[in-house]
């Protein structure tokens, strides 16, 4: 086991797969010589050369389109969209073309591609560089959506996403880039669609994703220690495929569900979770399903404002204590 940052785990995952498979290519803005604006892809150019690791113009539609065209004709490309907010500039290629082409062609076309992006807030970048858009991607049939919460998962899930034969939107939580964690040595590949449960509290389940996972875990510890409320945290890890079994198990075990979402409220992924529970496990509930989300506002920039907008461990604790 080596200790890596979340940031380093990105390059580690890419390197592992590029080493293994010549058809894996990687393109994006400032990704090659500069090593990425978040320094997530340093060293790849040196290791795999300027053809397999390549800087593009500021042309998100060209990046997404190139990745799609290459995936349908023999490569297994990875594209970077620098900030997930910029998916909006190539949403047509992603949501209308990449997501639908296999289906529309009755399976003639296969698209083994990954598009990575830095997602979410915490760096005081303001409303256009801090969005959590995992729900945008989840809403589009034909996209898989992966969002790791720790370095080991970054590496293992990125590897799994690259090996997957379907298009995967891989969302890295930019606030987690500096965080550290143990990453297994040697080849490390996880499975898409398998949630992980932290803790075994029997009072409440907190369903979380990506940057919200460490906050939920911290809240869970405080709820146990300070309020005697037993929590378990479900780290969904991928929204599509979604591990509904683990979710429903945890509902049965606790009877109380709280979602912890970084995306703004309306049509967030927590709404989907809530609707699944309300449809399939209503009688297992001991009380309302509560959603803790970024309120339905664009994200403000200033530190004080941003911190008060995105769900924090304290807000989770307070909400659970109040509602429970």
């Amino acid at each position: 086991m080596a200790e890596l940052t979340y940031r380093e785990a990105v390059a580690a995952g890419l390197a592992q797969e590029m080493e293994r498979d010549d058809s894996v290519y990687f393109i994006g803005e400032d990704v090659a010589a500069p090593g990425g604006v978040f320094k997530t892809t340093g060293g790849l150019l040196e290791r795999f050369g300027p053809r397999r690791v390549r800087d593009t113009p500021i042309s998100e539609e060209a990046i997404a389109g190139a990745v799609m065209g290459a995936a349908m004709t023999g490569l297994r490309p990875v594209g970077e969209i620098m900030f997930s907010d910029f998916f909006a500039t190539c949403w047509d290629i992603v949501a209308n073309q990449i997501a639908k082409t296999r289906y529309m062609t009755n399976g003639q076309v296969t698209l083994p591609l990954v598009i990575r992006a830095a997602n979410g807030g915490g760096l005081r970048f303001g409303a256009q560089h801090s969005q959590s858009v995992e729900n945008w991607a989840m809403a589009v049939p034909g996209l898989k959506v992966v969002a790791p919460s720790n370095p080991a998962d970054v590496k293992g899930l990125l590897a799994a996403s690259i090996r997957d034969d379907d298009p995967v939107i891989f969302l890295e939580a930019k606030s987690l880039y500096p965080t550290k964690g143990e990453v297994p040595d040697g080849e490390h590949v996880e499975e898409l669609g398998r949630a992980v449960v932290h803790g075994d509290g029997e009072d409440v389940v907190l369903v979380a994703l990506a940057a919200m996972v460490p906050r939920a875990i911290e809240a869970g510890e405080r709820l146990r220690d300070e309020h005697g409320i037993g929590c378990r945290v479900v780290d969904l890890r991928s929204l599509v495929p979604l591990d509904v079994s683990t979710l429903l198990e945890s509902v049965r075990a606790t009877g109380r569900v709280f979602t912890v979402e970084e995306n703004p409220r309306l049509c967030g992924w927590g709404a989907e979770i809530s609707s699944i529970v309300a449809e399939e496990a209503l009688y297992d509930l001991d009380g309302p399903i509560v959603r803790i989300t970024t309120p339905h506002v664009p994200l403000p920039a200033a530190e004080t404002l941003e911190d008060a907008t995105i769900p924090s461990a304290s807000r989770i604790v307070d909400t659970v204590v109040k509602e429970q």
Binding site: A62, G69, M72, T73, T105, P241, D243
Partner: protein, 337 residues
């Protein structure tokens, strides 16, 4: 400012090539006319966009392409898919929403695709397929296959952002892709001239990507074949992309029931007089081809179109089981366990 290719008129095309070109023209013409008839018989649901009048562009390029070169086209893609060798029955059945449709009914008229024939798809959102075609060219370049990607689109498409991004990327990366702007003077119902800052929407933009300005008579299949051959070979040899503007005209409306009343009668007349098939037929006769040879081609094509029509009409409607198939590479649509 613009180079009009005179390749074909000067070079000597051999007879077999000329007959194949004629055959492709005939195939498109008769397929499209049948599609229109079936629409009038209320057998085609949804929309459809015919290439009647624009056949020479599809025919000339297809003739010049290597078997494994890629075609990327638009919703106006029956012709481009057909001339790559896609099953006529499959195409006709797709228009009719039948189970033997080339996409089993899931895509419809606007999304015809035949990967086994390297017809990589018809794209219904203006401009999106240009970067995708560039991507296929990028893969060909990296894999060293010598394949060229050919991407067809209309005049109206030159004003959307994806056009710009794709052209620049293709030029910078010297990708083996030939972009073909079929300028039929209209978008849907609006004349391109009224919404475009330059006279030649394709050719006048080429310099912005360091490319030559190229215009071809899109109703002259020899000219099209000539320019296609030239720039396909150049792209194949590492010479990078080209942007070719083919001037042409559609005989009918933009789609289905559009009567195209917005076009000045004189304009329509003068273009109909330059019908690519009439033009080519008379050239071939002048060159000494027997009338019967051409008639035989036409009737062979007619037989094929008839058979395709019958096979399509005889088939059951698209199979509802497929609704849940092929969202994913595993063949299914499950998003949960």
């Amino acid at each position: 400012m613009s180079v009009v290719a005179r390749w074909a008129r000067e070079a000597k095309l051999d007879d077999p090539t000329r007959l194949e070109l004629y055959s492709k023209l005939s195939e498109i013409r008769q397929f499209e006319q049948r599609a229109y008839d079936l629409f009038l018989q209320n057998l085609v649901a949804g929309t459809s966009h015919l290439s009647l009048g624009q056949e020479a562009v599809a025919a000339g390029f297809a003739q010049a392409m290597r078997d494994d070169d890629f075609t990327f086209c638009t919703y106006r893609g029956h012709a481009h898919t057909l001339v790559r060798g896609a099953s006529m029955t499959g195409l006709m059945a797709e228009l009719l929403g039948r189970s033997n449709g080339i996409l089993a009914g899931k895509g419809g008229s606007m999304h015809l695709t035949s990967v086994e024939n390297y017809a990589m798809g018809s794209y219904a959102i203006v401009g999106s397929h240009l970067p995708i075609a560039a991507g296929a060219a990028w893969a060909a370049q990296e894999r060293g296959t010598g394949q060229v990607s050919v991407c067809f689109f209309g005049d109206g498409t030159t004003n959307i952002g994806a056009f710009h991004e794709a052209l620049n990327l293709a030029a910078v990366w010297k990708l083996p892709v030939v972009f073909v702007c079929e300028n039929n003077l209209y978008m849907e119902y609006t004349p391109i001239a009224s919404v475009t800052a330059v006279e030649h929407p394709g050719a006048d933009r080429a310099a912005a990507y360091g490319l030559e300005s190229l215009i071809v008579d899109g109703n002259d299949v020899d000219e099209v074949y000539g320019i296609a051959t030239t720039y396909l070979e150049r792209a194949r040899d590492g010479g990078g992309p080209a942007l070719i503007e083919a001037k042409t005209y559609r005989k009918g409306g933009h789609s289905r029931a559009d009567p195209a009343k917005y076009r000045p009668p004189q304009e329509v007349e003068s273009w109909l007089a330059r019908d690519p098939i009439i033009l080519y037929r008379s050239r071939l006769l002048e060159l000494g081809v027997e009338e019967k040879t051409l008639d035989d081609i036409d009737s062979e094509v007619l037989t094929a179109v008839d058979r395709a029509t019958e096979e399509a009409k005889a088939a059951p409607p698209a199979d509802e089981e497929l609704i849940h198939a092929d969202v994913w590479a595993d063949g299914g649509s499950r998003w949960r366990n």
